[in-house]
């Protein structure tokens, strides 16, 4: 996939991209319809539930798992190992790609079929494998389409939501020879046929993981299409890849998270398949992969883990509800952000993973309306974290100094100078009084326009007298009045 880390130019092009997206009627229509549908379905799916209690439970399950994270990872590793699944650890995306490449090379694998995995997008795995001469093909229908179009997913759950049937039909025709058609069933059936061939011939299947259960050594995958099951069953080798935060202590922890995940994501009570894998193929079993690997990817997560506030981001179960409800995301779509994870969760996660210098546009791509925090199934305080990152991008303050990579990237010399002056003035009453009096006296020199602020607002005018002057005047006249009547 052509997933690139955002570069400085991508940061700079955020605004032009957003403007372009806002003027694209088709894109806006697609997103509006899809997001309205998802919001409605989510609401309906939680009817009859005590949603607040369920969200509190979901948050607590995730917090408890994070509190014991290193122990759980070790338990998961030893349980998986005794089940016959090999565990690998990767500090960054590059190492994770190398591990997968090495497994492929050792097996002389030429083709890899992939189930949906956001971590593999984060790692840019397809790119990496292709450079090594290993074909990596996406099998989730949306991802398959997006890969064929040489684009990136615009939504973490519905990767091809930005395209319409006509475009997809034309693309399939051009790339695979499928007849042009408006019939979604026909297009789907055609993709089924082509992908079945690929499944049969693939040497390795790569999938993500939704939950990894430490107690039993079980990898859980949530999906509707069955491509996840195909990927993890048909090829002789299955490599699962996941962030280190996805581990939970026990099977009982899975139940509330699963109940929250599918309802929040697509308004489904449960997805078509919930696939729990604990072992490679056992003696006598006629199908399933003979080798199963798990790659645990850190890639910045242990850094977020250090901080009491930022750690909340690691609770995320990747449902996408925050995007579906975000007034910014629903208008511009995922590509505008230029990162693997877009929308509100992307805006707090990507700065953690990549640093603020490359993602400085993200924390401000929000109106802070709070919808994301209200719908989050594990109660991540997303708006608070956005504010925290905004503060970090100007290097924090004396109480909360910046700790995220690239902090202070937005700190400008003139702006800091101005604020230092402001601070100085406010710490010296005499200077303050002189300053405000001067401002009132020369108020005619105030510029009529203040950029974007005054484009849709009337500029406020300075009063002819300062508050101090007015108060003093009133006190003077009161005392003279009182004096007169006494």
């Amino acid at each position: 996939m052509n997933q690139h880390n955002p570069t400085a130019s991508q940061v700079q092009s955020f605004h032009p991209r957003a403007r372009e997206a806002l003027q694209n009627d088709q894109l806006r229509g697609n997103f509006r319809r899809a997001m309205d549908g998802l919001m409605g379905k989510r609401k309906a799916a939680f009817e009859g539930w005590d949603l607040e209690s369920l969200r509190t439970l979901g948050a607590a399950v995730r917090q408890r798992a994070l509190a014991r994270l290193p122990d759980l990872l070790e338990q998961l590793e030893s349980q998986l190992t005794s089940n016959g699944i090999q565990v690998h650890w990767a500090t960054d995306a590059d190492e994770a790609c190398r591990i997968i490449r090495d497994i492929c090379v050792a097996r002389e694998a030429r083709t890899v079929i992939k189930g949906k995995s956001m971590v593999s997008e984060e790692m840019e795995l397809n790119h990496y494998l292709e450079a090594e001469g290993i074909e990596a093909l996406e099998s989730d229908l949306g991802e398959y389409i997006v890969q064929m179009a040489e684009q990136t997913p615009s939504h973490i759950i519905m990767p091809a939501i930005h395209m319409n049937t006509d475009e997809i039909s034309e693309l399939l025709h051009r790339k695979t020879g499928t007849d042009r058609s408006h019939d979604v069933n026909y297009l789907t059936a055609s993709a089924r046929q082509q992908l079945r061939e690929k499944f049969m011939n693939a040497d390795v299947g790569v999938s993500g993981v939704n939950f990894a259960v430490a107690e039993t050594g079980t990898l859980c995958l949530v999906e509707n299409e069955g491509n996840g099951r195909m990927t993890t069953t048909v090829p002789p080798c299955h490599i699962a890849v996941t962030g280190i935060e996805k581990v939970v202590p026990s099977l009982a922890d899975v139940a509330p998270l699963l109940a929250l995940l599918t309802r929040s994501a697509t308004g489904q009570h449960l997805t078509t398949y919930f696939n729990m894998i604990s072992r490679p193929r056992q003696p006598g079993e006629p199908d399933g992969p003979e080798a199963v690997h798990l790659v645990l990817v850190d890639n910045g997560r242990s850094g977020i883990y250090q901080d009491d506030e930022l750690i909340d981001t690691l609770r995320c179960i990747r449902c996408g509800a925050c995007m579906n409800h975000c007034p910014v995301y629903t208008r511009v779509g995922g590509h505008v952000y230029g990162t693997t994870y877009p929308g509100p969760i992307g805006s707090i996660l990507m700065p953690h993973l990549l640093g603020l210098d490359e993602t400085r546009h993200m924390p401000t791509a929000s109106s802070l309306c709070g919808a994301c925090g209200e719908v989050c199934p594990v109660k991540i305080p997303i708006p608070d974290l956005l504010v925290r990152l905004r503060r970090e991008s100007v290097d924090g303050d004396s109480v909360h100094p910046g700790v995220v990579k690239g902090h202070g990237v937005k700190r400008g010399r003139w702006e800091s100078l101005a604020w230092r002056g402001w601070q100085w003035m406010h710490a010296n009453p005499g200077l303050y009084r002189t300053g405000t009096r001067m401002a009132a006296r020369f108020r005619a020199l105030q510029p009529a326009s203040a950029g974007a602020w005054t484009r849709v607002r009337t500029a406020p005018r300075l009063a002819p007298k300062t508050l101090h002057q007015l108060m003093k005047q009133r006190a003077d006249s009161n005392s003279s009045d009182n004096g007169g009547s006494r």
């Binding site: 899809a34 005590d50 990872l73 949306g142 039993t216 139940a255 449960l270 006629p286 199908d287 242990s302």
Partner: protein, 217 residues
């Protein structure tokens, strides 16, 4: 230092110290005191909303129901478990309306192309179902391999009516899943589907186009 040690050490030496362990209150997930009849009705209603088809039958009539389902769809064959009693019953019945019976007697590598291209339907047992979400519980294995419920276009699942649990949590607890998980455990709620093309639902994208449940009462 290995990456493993490096990651674990960073997690263990957390800058901001120990993390809280909030209490868990499962109140919102428990207390579904449904009768057996209510659970069956709810299971059926829920799986029907996701395009699953449900037939209720007695132990005597279920083979007729099965034969009818297959005949109506003009299935040429049915992949059947070798050892499970439902497989044995089907084979022993000699029902005139049943199509050719196939079995998954050898490793998939020996007959993958046939399985993918020539099998019209497969029948499997289930380990029960979940009423709340309309889901079937399957533990594939030697007798009923993983691809049986995935590759053929029609999947027929036999469910015993007294094996319906209120919730997933309850099923895992009562069946003591944590005591030992199988190679693969599945919850299946309806046929394979996608909405990836303009949010239009299409069935059978990678797995079965049809999921038919025969509930034996």
């Amino acid at each position: 230092m290995t990456s493993r040690e490096d990651i674990l050490q960073r997690l263990r030496n957390r800058r901001d110290g120990e993390l809280p362990m909030p209490e868990l209150d499962y109140g919102s997930m428990t207390g579904r005191d449904w009768s057996a009849a209510q659970k069956l009705d709810l299971f059926q209603a829920m799986i029907e909303t996701v395009h699953g088809e449900v037939h209720r039958a007695t132990d005597e009539e279920w083979l007729d129901t099965l034969a009818g389902i297959l005949k109506q769809r003009q299935a040429r064959n049915l992949l059947t478990p070798l050892k499970h009693p439902i497989g044995a019953e089907i084979r022993a019945s000699g029902h005139p309306d049943l199509p050719e019976l196939l079995s998954y007697g050898e490793p998939v590598e020996h007959w993958q192309r046939e399985l993918f291209n020539d099998v019209d339907a497969a029948i499997t047992s289930t380990r029960g179902a979940i009423a709340e979400t309309g889901s079937l519980i399957l533990w594939p294995g030697i007798d009923e391999p993983r691809l049986m419920s995935l590759v053929p276009p029609i999947h027929i699942a036999v469910l015993e009516a007294d094996q319906i649990f209120a919730t997933f949590l309850e099923a895992m607890e009562l069946q003591r899943w944590s005591a030992g998980m199988p190679t693969n455990a599945l919850l299946i709620s309806g046929p394979s589907k996608t909405a990836d093309i303009e949010q239009t639902l299409a069935y059978g994208v990678h797995g079965p186009k049809e999921l038919i449940v025969i509930v034996r009462q």
